[in-house]
Each structure stands twice: as C-alpha cells, then as structure tokens.
C-alpha cells in the first residue's frame, strides 16, 4: 500500500447554489426579518474569505498542525471479510483533534467569525461533538462561546457537557419541546436574533438558511478531497459506493462532495431508523417525512398533517433531528444520492462489531453508516470497493451503550 502525500484542500466555489441559496427546489433563507441582514452579510464575508489566499492558508495550517489532517483511509479488512468480501475503507474522521469531523467546520467558521469582528460564538449541539468543536475553536482563537444543548441530550452525552465546560464554554440547557437538537437550534436562533450585533452563530451542520448549507459543506469538503485521492492511491480506482450517516448531513455532504461528478460512484446516506418507522420513533426523513420549511430552509422534514414538526427518536443524539440539510433533499430528488436507514438495534450491533473486528469504537452516529456496510458488501461482492465516512469516535457513547446493554460488552 502506498501512502499518498496529501495536503488538506477544500472544494471552494465550484458547486454553489443559486443566488438565493437554492439547490433545485431546496434551501433558501426562511428567517425572521432581523436575521436577513445578518445572513446577507455572512454570505458576502464568506464568499470573500474563501477567495482569500491568506484565509485559506491559515485554515490549512490549522487543519494540518492542530487537527491532524489528513486523516487516514484505513482498509478494514476484517470488516470487509465479514461483509461479503468487499473491500471496505474507513475515512478516519474519528482521529481528528476532538474526535469528530465537526472540528473541520468549527475552525473554518470561527476563523470567519474572527475576520468579521465577532467577539462571541453561539452554537447548538446534539451529541455534543459540534459543541466541543466550537468550544475548542473559541478557546484557540480567544472568543467567548455559548452552547445550547437539549437537556435530554445533556443527560445522554454528559461527558461532552463536561468537556465543553472544561474548554471554557458556557453550556445552556434547553428543555422546551423535545429537549433535543431542534430545540437547541431554536434557542440558538433566539439568542442570535438578540445578539446579532456582536455574535456569530456557528451552525454545526449543513442546515439552516443560506449560506450555512453551502459553507458547512465546503468546510467539510476536505474529507472528500482527501478520501478521493486516498482511494485512488490505495485501491487504484474510484469506489463503487461512498456511505455516510445523515443527521443534518454535514459529514455526508463533506465526503459526497468530491464524488458528485463521478457518475459511477453511488452516494448512500444512512438515516436513523430509531425504534420503528412510525411517527415519533425514528429520524428517517426520507422514509417518513415530507417537504416543508423549517429552521430557515426548505427541505424534507418529519411533520404531522397540520405542519407541526413531530418528535423524533434515535439512540444517537447527533442523528435525532426532524429535518435534513437541503442539499441532501436535492440530491435525493435528482436521484444522485440514495438514502437508507439503520435502526437503533443495527447501529448498536455495528458499534460492537467494529470494535471487535477492527479495534475501532465508532460514534453511534457513524455506527449507522457502518451498519449499512454488511448488506451493501454482500450486494457488491468480493470485487466491490466501499468508502465509509467514520465521522467520529465512540468514547462519548461508551457510558450510554453500557447503560443500554446493562453493562454487557
């Protein structure tokens, strides 16, 4: 196996939405009036920053020397043997500083915030990984940081709450609604509407009003840029499929991006099937949702007949969200990407099997992508090549999995 020499690079400015922030029929800017000027100013600042060689050089410097990029592409031979003999490669975002892909976006946006003169970062978090990444970026760049987190998520991701506080962030519990990620986003937007003059909203997924879905995907595009070069070097060809879990969809957009123009590469997003595909018990938007407008964007979401957003469930806090990023809705509508789901049971089984087969404990979010590999590997057979985005590590989940399994490992 040759080890390619890769400098982390981004795909900036080649696949922009239209001027109003639409990917096909999805996206846009459905925000309260007070935030319109803020998202317009943010768009201008972002477009200027991504063209600026100094901004890009500083981002690359941080990604190499602070985050530890490029991350390896590991051929998981034992997982492949157990998956119909296909060659399975894991993109090891779990090995980044702070342990998940979220840091790629948090550092990019925090640099932008600093460039725009903001003193304070506002962030929301589900599993806590984006909150930890934001708190980390704030500490590094000398910014204040307030993180909103649903109280249900605070209970199941207590380790990350402690990490955020250790990093100097203020964590504010949100107990409205379902006390999960969507409620944390509502509260973050309420904060931003009042503090827009000096605060920067550091949204963690490819969601929300334009330019966030574009900007978050582009800051995460480093994953796909590296993975595409690595798979060409290591397998000698493009993969048959790229697989990633989809909550809001940032890790998936980050790795899909480099392969969108490779027509022969299947792009497969895996949503959270929860306990069952019935209202309130899952978070598989393409399996049980409909088009709508939510938290600033037109996309697919889980809602009732009256247009109220329904409760969701997933064992994974990071996938437990009622809407999906608008670019995913577009890729689904054009047929360029396909979306499957894995339920809680399958994700927990994959969590355990990856630990046993490869010595890697994945985040429960990433375990949903791993769960899809067995069936896909059998479908593709021994000649198949699969790249899986292992978006984060599972240390944060060990306690809650132990609770779920009664301590049996």
């Amino acid at each position: 196996m040759t080890t390619p020499t890769i400098v982390p690079t981004h795909n900036f400015g080649t696949r922009d939405p239209d001027a109003r922030g639409y990917f096909g029929a999805f996206g846009g800017r459905f925000v309260p009036e007070t935030l319109v000027s803020a998202v317009e100013a943010l768009t201008d600042a972002y477009v200027a920053a991504r063209r600026d060689p100094a901004f890009r050089a500083e981002l690359t410097r941080l990604l190499v020397h602070y985050v530890g990029r490029p991350t390896p592409l590991w051929e998981a031979a034992r997982l492949g043997a157990a998956s119909g003999g296909a060659r399975v490669f894991l993109k090891r975002e779990d090995l980044t500083h702070t342990g998940a892909h979220k840091i790629n976006n948090a550092l990019g946006q925090a640099l932008l915030a600093k460039r725009m003169g903001a003193k304070r970062l506002i962030a929301e978090t589900g599993a806590g990984q984006h909150g930890v990444a934001s708190a980390t970026a704030a500490a590094l760049l000398g910014l204040e940081c307030v993180v909103y987190m649903g109280t249900e998520d605070m209970a199941r991701q207590a380790l990350n709450v402690f990490r955020m506080r250790l990093l100097g962030a203020e964590v504010r519990g949100v107990d409205s609604g379902s006390a999960t990620l969507k409620d944390a986003i509502n509260e973050a937007m309420r904060d931003w509407v009042a503090s827009v003059a000096d605060s920067y909203y550091l949204l963690g997924s490819a969601l929300g009003p334009h330019p966030y879905p574009l900007m978050v995907r582009e800051f995460q595009s480093v994953i796909g840029q590296e993975a595409r070069a690595q798979i060409l070097a290591q397998a000698g060809r493009l993969p048959d499929a790229v697989v990633a879990s989809v909550g809001g969809g940032s890790n998936a957009m980050g790795i899909f991006d480099a392969f969108v123009d490779d027509a022969g590469v299947r792009l497969i997003g895996v949503e959270a099937g929860g306990e069952a595909i019935t209202i309130g018990r899952h978070a598989a938007r393409f399996a049980g949702g409909a088009e709508g407008v939510f938290q600033g964007t037109r996309t697919w979401l889980l809602q009732d007949d009256d247009g109220n957003v329904t409760a969701t469930h997933s064992v994974s806090a990071g996938l437990d969200y009622a809407a999906v990023g608008p670019e995913h809705a577009w890729l689904q509508s054009t047929g360029r990407a396909e979306y499957a789901w894995a339920d809680d049971r399958a994700a927990l089984a994959a969590f355990e099997s990856l630990a046993r087969l490869e010595g890697i404990v994945p985040a429960l979010e990433s375990a949903h992508a791993v769960a899809h590999v067995a069936a896909l590997g059998r479908e593709l057979g021994p000649g198949g090549v699969i790249v899986v985005n292992l978006s984060g590590r599972g240390d944060k989940d060990v306690q809650s999995v132990a609770n779920l399994t009664g301590g049996r490992a």
Binding site: R20, G28, R29, F30, V31, P32, E33, T34, L35, V36, S37, A38, S176, G177, K182, D183, I185, N186, M189, R190, V193, A194, S195, V196, A197, A290, E291, G292, V293, F294, Q295, G296, L301, Q303, D305, D306, G307, N308, V309, T310
Partner: protein, 261 residues
C-alpha cells in the same frame, strides 16, 4: 380599500394611536380563545392578530412559547384557527390578521390556505419566517384572494429592503422595535424611534411598532412616531394568568381598555 386600509385611514383622520392586539389562537383552548378574542374586540383593539400555534416558534420568547404549547396541547391547528376566525367574523369589528410561521401554511398548500383564509374573513397575513425574498408565491396567492400581505421591518433592515417591503406589502408594515424575540419589557427601546424615522423617510404606508410593549404610556410614546403599537406577550400573559378565571373575558377586556387609556 381593504378593511385594514380603512382602519389605518380612520386612525390617521382621528389623530389616534391604534392598538394592534396579538393573541395566540387556541390558548388556553379554542372555546375560551373565542371568548378572549371577543373581549379584545370589545376592549377596543383596532386590529387583532391571531397567532397560529407552531411546534417550533423560534422568534418567540417564553410567554408566547408557553401559550403555543397550551394551544397545541388543546388540539389547535391552522385549520381550527381558520374555523375559529370564521365563527367570530360576524361579531368582531376589528380586522383580523393571521400571524403564522411558514410551515403550517406550506403544509396546507399556499393557494388552499389563501382561499380558506379569505373564506374565514381574514384580512391580512403575516408570515414570520417569510421575508419578501421568499414570499413571492404566497404574496401572489394572497393578492389573488384580496388578503393584505404584512411584512416585518427590523432595526437591521436596509433602506432598500424597507422600500421593497413597502412596495410589496399591504395593510400596514410591522416594525420590530428592538432586536430579540417577543416579550414585554419595562421601557420603549431607543431603536423604536430610529426605525420609525427610517421607515417614514421611505414610505407613507401605515406603520405599527411592536415587541416589548405592555402599558398605556408605551402606546403614547409609540404614537409620536407610528400609526399603531402592537401588544402581544403582555396580553398573552393576562390570558395565562386568568385562564381558570370564570371572568377571563372581563379581565382581558379591562386590560385592553387600560392600554388605550
């Protein structure tokens, strides 16, 4: 001339500051909400805004969030708010404006929503998360049904966008007098006067200022710069405080009268 146009023309002719009263429709339940709305009308509100409860009211502060939760728990939906309005239209004098988030309307289908709103006797629609740039389809449907499209303006709104909202909107412009979510405050923000001055420089369209007002002296202050003041959270709090009171309507009516004193 729409009913809203008539109302604001009369306010200007009488040199009187209007009161736009917001209530969350279906709070505490649909039957008592009807009683509240009648009381608001009897108390002398010039325009009544009916808030459509939505699961994720991200522009609202705690008081309206709680009202929304009560209304949803009591089974309120957009369709039921329209039925409520239709049942009240004959004996409520004030124009009725629906105040909603986009998704319930999108779910119903924008043309169907516009038609049903007109049939229910609604005069105007304000969609909180539908700025003019996203409002094209809705505005066309509203105009087609004779409904006024109410746009919001904020201290952060540019002059170009004030002009566009004045041009595309109908009825009145709703000026958000301070940054932040809905909720009563002790005083009138300095940003209220400067926003009103910026709007006045661009358009003669009637202007109602809102966010934070709860007292008669707030209305008098707003009257120096704008056509009307919006009272929302403070009125919703009166409803919450007296939800179990057999004289809920009387309490609401007295509060609205006091605001106009």
């Amino acid at each position: 001339m729409s009913r809203l146009d008539d109302t604001f023309a009369r306010l200007r002719a009488e040199h009187r500051t209007g009161l736009v009263a917001y209530v969350t429709a279906g709070d505490p339940d649909l039957a008592r909400s009807a009683e509240v709305i009648r009381a608001v009308d009897r108390g002398g509100a010039d325009v009544i805004e009916l808030g459509v409860p939505f699961s994720d009211p991200l522009a609202d502060g705690p008081v309206i969030q709680r009202a929304t939760e009560r209304a949803l728990a009591a089974g309120t939906t957009l369709a039921k708010v329209l039925e409520l309005a239709a049942g009240l239209r004959a004996d409520v004098a004030a124009p009725l404006v629906l105040f909603t988030y986009a998704n319930p309307m999108v779910r119903m289908g924008i043309p169907a929503f516009a038609r049903r709103a007109r049939e229910a006797g609604i005069d105007g629609v304000l969609v909180l998360d539908l700025p003019p740039e996203e409002a094209g389809e809705a505005r066309t449907a509203f105009v087609g049904e004779g409904l006024d499209t109410i746009f919001l303006l904020s201290p952060t709104t540019s002059v170009e966008r004030i002009r566009r909202a004045a041009e595309l909107g109908g009825g009145f412009l709703y000026g958000i007098s301070r940054l932040g979510v809905t909720g009563a405050r002790a005083d009138v923000a300095d940003s209220a006067e400067s926003l009103a001055a910026r709007v006045r420089a661009e358009t003669t369209r009637p202007l109602a200022l809102g966010f934070g007002f709860s007292r008669p002296e707030h209305l008098r202050a707003v009257g120096q710069w704008a056509d009307a003041a919006v009272v929302g959270s403070a009125l919703v709090q009166v409803v919450a405080d007296h939800a179990g009171n057999p004289d809920l309507g009387g309490e609401v009516e007295r509060y609205v009268r006091w605001l106009r004193s």
